[in-house]
């Protein structure tokens, strides 16, 4: 009797597990279908994108990619966008980590007040500031040619109130004993910061860089405002340009969209463990 009950229970839970798999698989396929369609349609000849006949051997082509690359000036645009996110991600990280370290570890007059002022800035959306920021950038010569435009795309976003706040929380949780050993060796503030504190908060640094890279790779409003020339366009602007300038070629637009997404997806493979790890760690506290 007992044994029958046990096997009955096991097969029921096995059935539930298979059911969960089946439902998950169907939902996942539907959820990702727009992106799958994007890739597949980017490989279709113009006339057959919205038509039928997808199952045959005809109508497939790589030509959209060559056209998109040429028409959207994607070589230049990808380079611009890459430089933009690397400068913001790398330079911003150092600047914000330094400030965060000072707020967490160094004693100075007015520390709490200044920090509270920084925290207030977190809520400010870039959209509110975009218009006056445009004039500030113009006054400082951060618009126009290639070097100026790259500076205009990056310098205003190096310092970020949220990143300072976020990194400060992590510096606070670094045990003081870790620093004491280095102090015995006569390390100054800079060496404590660089050799002890920074390595101790590596996962938080990775999180900040990932968020910055993702956010700025997709930047639209600000580049739209300050890049006036073709050669300073970012990837997203090139895509928007291809999308709105006649002749409208759906295949080219989709190929351009795929090429604008590919770098992020390759990067995603590397950083997804940080996302998964974040919520795994959250349970331990």
């Amino acid at each position: 009797m007992k044994r029958t009950g046990a096997t009955g229970g096991r097969s029921a839970s096995l059935l539930a597990a298979y059911g969960a798999w089946a439902v998950s698989l169907v939902v996942a396929v539907v959820f990702l279908s727009p992106l799958v369609w994007m890739v597949a349609a980017s490989l279709r000849e113009e006339a057959s994108i919205f038509g039928g006949g997808w199952w045959g051997m005809d109508g497939w082509t790589l030509e959209n990619y060559a056209d998109a690359w040429r028409r959207a000036g994607l070589g230049r645009a990808l380079l611009n966008s890459t430089m933009q996110v690397v400068v913001i991600g790398g330079g911003g990280l150092l600047i914000n980590a330094m400030a965060a370290y000072a707020f967490a570890r160094l004693e100075f007059w007015g520390r709490e007040g200044v920090f509270a002022g920084v925290v207030v800035l977190i809520i400010l959306p870039v959209e509110v500031l975009a218009v006056p920021l445009f004039f500030t950038a113009r006054d400082l010569g951060l618009t126009g040619g290639h070097g100026a435009a790259l500076a205009g795309l990056t310098v205003p976003f190096l310092a970020k109130a949220f990143n300072i706040y976020f990194l400060r929380q992590h510096f606070l949780s670094v045990p003081a004993t870790l620093e004491e050993a280095a102090v015995m060796d006569g390390a100054g503030p800079w060496r404590l910061f660089w050799n002890v504190a920074l390595p101790a908060v590596r996962p938080a640094l990775a999180t900040v860089v990932v968020l910055d890279l993702l956010a700025h790779w997709g930047d639209f409003l600000w580049p739209l405002m300050i890049t006036t020339r073709g050669e300073t366009r970012t990837v997203q602007l090139s895509l928007a340009n291809l999308f709105t300038q006649p002749p409208v070629q759906w295949g080219d637009i989709l190929a351009c969209a795929v090429l604008a997404t590919l770098p992020v997806m390759l990067f995603f493979r590397w950083f997804q463990r940080y996302i998964v790890a974040t919520d795994a760690r959250a349970g331990i506290k």
Binding site: P34, F50, V131, F157, T278, A282
Partner: protein, 296 residues
């Protein structure tokens, strides 16, 4: 404080100066300028020649039909997106909350649209929503056709355009809030859930009476963040519909942008930006109030 600590404190200036200087120049100063300009008749080409006009820009905002429409659209968009995205993310988090390794792929699936840039998705969904023309139709209409739904002109119908953009936005963002809920779920007491189960509570009852109260703060956080993100909508309608048809998807940000660069009325644009800031700040303030009650 030891002598050594005081010495260390003196180096704080070097650590702080780069970040604080940049924040002052590129955040605080533009904010102050926007605030000042919002009370003047500044125009795009020569803002330095502005004259004060009092609160005229602010009182004029509401009489401006385009701004009023943009304001209402932005609220409507938030009303469509926030409940759907919050509830969707919550149930997705419950569903993907499976610690086993072989289930990790599922949470990654829902996160994928979050990492794709919004302009890319806006362009993609414009094609997905293509109306039927001749023998051709977009995949959304084709898929609905299988279930007997007649093809719609999604982005060209004033009644459908905003909901269509909202649907696409929920699809894009739901994975992010799912991750936040997933982190919150790890803090729900397993003992409490087991106890409820032993007492004979069904799955729904456990969610409603145990999980939801335990995740109150996470839910408030997600609603706040989603609301603020929804208010900031710009890219989707700008690329998908240009704010049309008939201003039915015009966003607040687009109206600020056009007041600046098309009407060149900088004073009015800054007033609109300040109104937007009050809106966003108000949401954050409400969140703080609600969370404070929780602590007391």
């Amino acid at each position: 404080m030891t002598r050594w600590e005081q010495e260390r404190g003196r180096s704080a200036g070097w650590f702080l100066t780069p970040a604080l200087a940049l924040l002052a120049v590129f955040v605080v100063w533009p904010l102050v300028r926007a605030g000042v300009w919002s009370f003047t008749n500044a125009d795009l080409l020569s803002p330095e020649r502005a004259r004060g006009v009092g609160v005229e820009n602010y009182t004029g905002l509401w009489e401006d039909g385009r701004f009023r429409r943009a304001f209402l659209n932005t609220w409507m968009f938030a009303l469509l997106v926030v409940p759907a995205q919050t509830a969707g993310a919550f149930f997705l988090a419950l569903w993907v909350n499976r610690p086993e390794r072989e289930w990790q792929w599922l949470r990654v699936v829902f996160f994928v649209p979050v990492v794709v840039a919004m302009p890319v998705l806006a362009v993609l969904w414009t094609l997905l929503y293509q109306p039927a023309q001749g023998g051709e139709m977009g995949p959304v209409n084709a898929a609905l056709g299988v279930f007997g739904v007649p093809p719609q002109a999604w982005l060209r119908d004033p009644a459908l355009a905003l909901p269509a953009i909202a649907l696409m936005s929920v699809w894009q963002g739901v994975g992010l809030q799912m991750m936040v809920f997933l982190a919150g779920l790890q803090g729900v007491s397993k003992e409490l859930l087991d106890a409820a189960k032993i007492d004979g509570a069904g799955a729904w009852q456990r969610v409603w009476h145990v999980v939801v109260p335990a995740m109150r703060n996470t839910i408030i956080f997600v609603v706040t963040v989603t609301t603020i993100l929804a208010f900031r909508i710009f890219v989707q309608p700008y690329l998908m519909t240009r704010g049309g048809p008939g201003n039915s998807t015009l966003s607040l940000i687009q109206s600020v942008y056009e007041t600046t660069f098309v009407s060149q009325d900088l004073g009015r644009a800054c007033a609109a930006a300040m109104a937007f800031l009050v809106l966003v700040g108000g949401v954050a303030w409400v969140q703080r109030r609600v969370l404070k009650e929780e602590r007391e």
